[in-house]
């Protein structure tokens, strides 16, 4: 099974995935990235008005092929 890496950028910090995971294919890797978004947001709701989490998926050779972005907006009305 191919190895995929999931780098996370929370707007303040870029975290390079050093371990990765073995998944069936790009479709499975895309799914893994998408379902991780609520987890990222759950613990790390920032203090501010706008925030973006970005998960970028790369293959073992470093090729990025997918990106998921979750954005947070908050404002007084």
């Amino acid at each position: 099974m191919p190895h995929f890496f999931f780098d996370v950028d929370d707007g303040a910090k870029f975290e390079r995935d050093l371990v990765g995971a073995e998944l069936d294919d790009r479709i499975a890797a895309r799914h893994a990235a998408v379902i991780s978004m609520p987890d990222l947001a759950r613990d790390e709701i920032p203090d501010g008005e706008a925030w973006e989490w970005r998960v970028r998926v790369r293959e073992g050779d470093g090729t990025y092929f997918f990106e998921a972005i979750l954005s947070f907006r908050a404002r007084w009305i």
């Binding site: 999931f6 995935d17 995971a21 990235a33 379902i35 991780s36 987890d39 759950r42 613990d43 998960v55």
Partner: protein
Amino acid sequence: MNRPIAPSSSTRIRAHPLTRRNVPEVGAMRLDEPEHSATERRSIIMKSIGHSGGNPAILKLNQAGTLEERDLSKLSAITCTSYLIDGKRDIIQQGEPPKDVHLMMSGLACRYKMLPDGSRSIMALLVPGDFCDLHVAILGHMDHGIGTLAPSRVVDIPREIIDDLTSNEPRITRTLWWATLVDEAILREWLVSMGRRRAMERVAHLLCELEVRLKTVHLSEGGSFELPINQETLADMLGMSLVHVNRMLQKLSKDRLISISGKTVTIHDRAALWDFAGFDPGYLHLSRHSLAALVDVGCVAEASA
């Protein structure tokens, strides 16, 4: 018991019952020497039976603190015949009528349920010494499955043996109840983790618990233990996505709280990890002796006092 007696040390126990009149020598110590307290005698007997690492069922049940020599040899006889089952196999499936009680002697298993979308939720981990389904025979069928996560040794204890123990062996029965209650306590803690702990605390809490449970059955040494599961399984256990579990493990490693090498997890600073996870081993209801052993190897006494 209507089954062959394995050519293990338990055969010797049958030939030479562990009475105070006829006791094996362990090193230079004799069990009948008056300077040994009851606890020390139990500990000497436990070292003399079972395989090198000790019989995990006895090591675990002895945490309840009420077993005597007769109980230990009885438990040893019951658990002498185990069989090997590969990893990722069902010990019993959801819907099956439970017959035997399964006891883990080595390896790792879990209780799980499959969801309609094909995903799996793991509600409990079963380590050596854990009974898979002690009282479930009262119910007509399994409402969840039990499967191995790694190659495991399992003992099938026929229902009649459990019935005999509960009718005739009050001290063993008490320890079996203790084990059942501790299982429930672990499940309560699992629920707290799922519902309220942040992801990194949740991962850390699980590692804290596993280290203590494995240490009780002599399978963790110096903060290191084997965790032969992949990230996907860990994600099913923690109710988290694989990507997030992966990320949390890397953060814990980066903070030098743990390290992972292959299938070996090492806790570097137990006190710090306990503190970070909000882990208090009280819910495992261990013996004073076991708690003291945790303190001896460098964790904070206050956390478990």
